[in-house]
Symmetry: C2
Subunit: 242 residues, 2 copies
């Protein structure tokens, strides 16, 4: 039986400032929780109804009624399992962006897009994702869910991009409509792929960090591609050549 | 001044069966309406507040107050313009799938995904998109908006896929994890790219229409890519080779 205080505590994690205060976040759904368990992500508490199909039998698991689940869930339609995890933030190590492939996200505020971008970084085994502080919060449940488990496998760093990208020795690639043809790009094992907010593009300061403008060849009438789609095409091309 | 009946009539277009009954749909937002006007899409009525920045001066335009706009809008935060257009459905012409590139969507129910897929089809100048009848409705406003104007430029056909794909002479490409390497694919100017529902994949009948299984080379831990992302990478590769 959950107390009122426990219910409020879990519900409050829907908001970023509450998550930051206590250093905890919530993840729900059999798929998402299952992925974090498989990755041995540090989950502290697991609340599950009898309907949960893959129960873990350890002291973290609390069996709750469906009614209790509907009170702690952040979803309109609760799933059979909800877990509380510890927020772990990773800091940028000096010089690390000069090694390997980095996806850098500038003010990508849509949580679903951020999650999809993490999944792409995971598929292409990028070395890391750097997010500007005004991107959607990594511990927002929509990000975790849209990442389909990649959340737990990708190294993600939050850092002001202008500073992080200053003075790099690797190419910093930015997509626009007048860059060099992506299909003709020479092989790159070390580079930064810059992706901006879909509505507003890259901020001026970050734009000035681009060392090479690239263009995904366009054949038809669309003005642009969605941010995640563009990132994926660039990754597929860089990995093709490597 | 809008009458109560006019307001109800426009609001009702939020639901598919009402749209089908009267053959009309709604599109809102300066960007989306602007794109349809640019493409000369047959819009019948345009409702705009004083704040609309690019007014068209013809008999279709009705100036409304912000309060009236909030009553006809399907959005929680209304935009300065709402247009009513005529639903135009296109039928499959016998044999047309044997010519050019076709994107075939099997039960893709997320409206945002369908819109993004139309935008991809537009960018890569595919010849058409064929949607199974259980995909999100093309005239759902979320589809129109997510397509960023591509809605008006791409030939879209709704048809049962199993019948549409039967007996084709062009390759029918399906993505899975055990197909041939997409990067090694020979040039193709004529093909069907099959994309399934993200959660459920391709239905069994449609799966049996695949003549060539292809795989986007994977480097990391993600189990899969999102449907639109996969479609875009395949299109970029087919267009690279053509």
């Amino acid at each position: 039986m959950l107390t009122k205080a426990e219910i409020s505590r879990i519900r409050a994690l829907d908001e970023k400032h509450h998550r930051e205060e206590v250093g905890l976040f919530v993840v729900e759904g059999e798929k998402a929780v299952g992925e974090l368990l498989t990755s041995n992500y540090p989950l502290l508490e697991i609340y599950a109804t009898e309907a949960w199909k893959h129960p873990v039998s350890d002291s973290r698991v609390h069996t709750v009624s469906e009614q209790e689940m509907s009170r702690i869930s952040h979803f309109p339609t609760p799933s059979p399992v909800l877990a509380v995890g510890r927020i772990g933030r990773t800091a940028l190590v000096a010089g690390e962006l000069n090694q390997g492939l980095t996806l850098a996200l500038d003010r990508v505020q849509d949580a679903g897009n951020v999650g999809t971008l993490l999944r792409i970084a995971d598929w292409f085994a990028l070395d890391r994702v750097v997010m500007s502080p005004d991107c959607a919060d990594l511990f927002n449940q929509k990000v975790v869910n849209a990442s389909m488990g990649s959340f737990a496998r990708v190294r993600v760093i939050s850092a002001p991009l202008e500073q992080a990208l200053a003075g790099l020795s690797v190419p910093v690639l930015g997509c626009d409509l007048e860059g060099s043809d992506l299909h003709l790009l020479p092989p790159m094992k070390h580079a930064v792929i810059l992706i901006g907010s879909e509505g507003r593009g890259l901020s001026a300061g970050v734009k000035s960090c681009i060392s090479q403008r690239i263009t995904i060849p366009r054949h038809g009438g669309a003005e642009s591609l969605n941010a995640a789609v563009a990132a994926a095409i660039v990754c597929d091309n860089l990995r093709r050549l490597a």
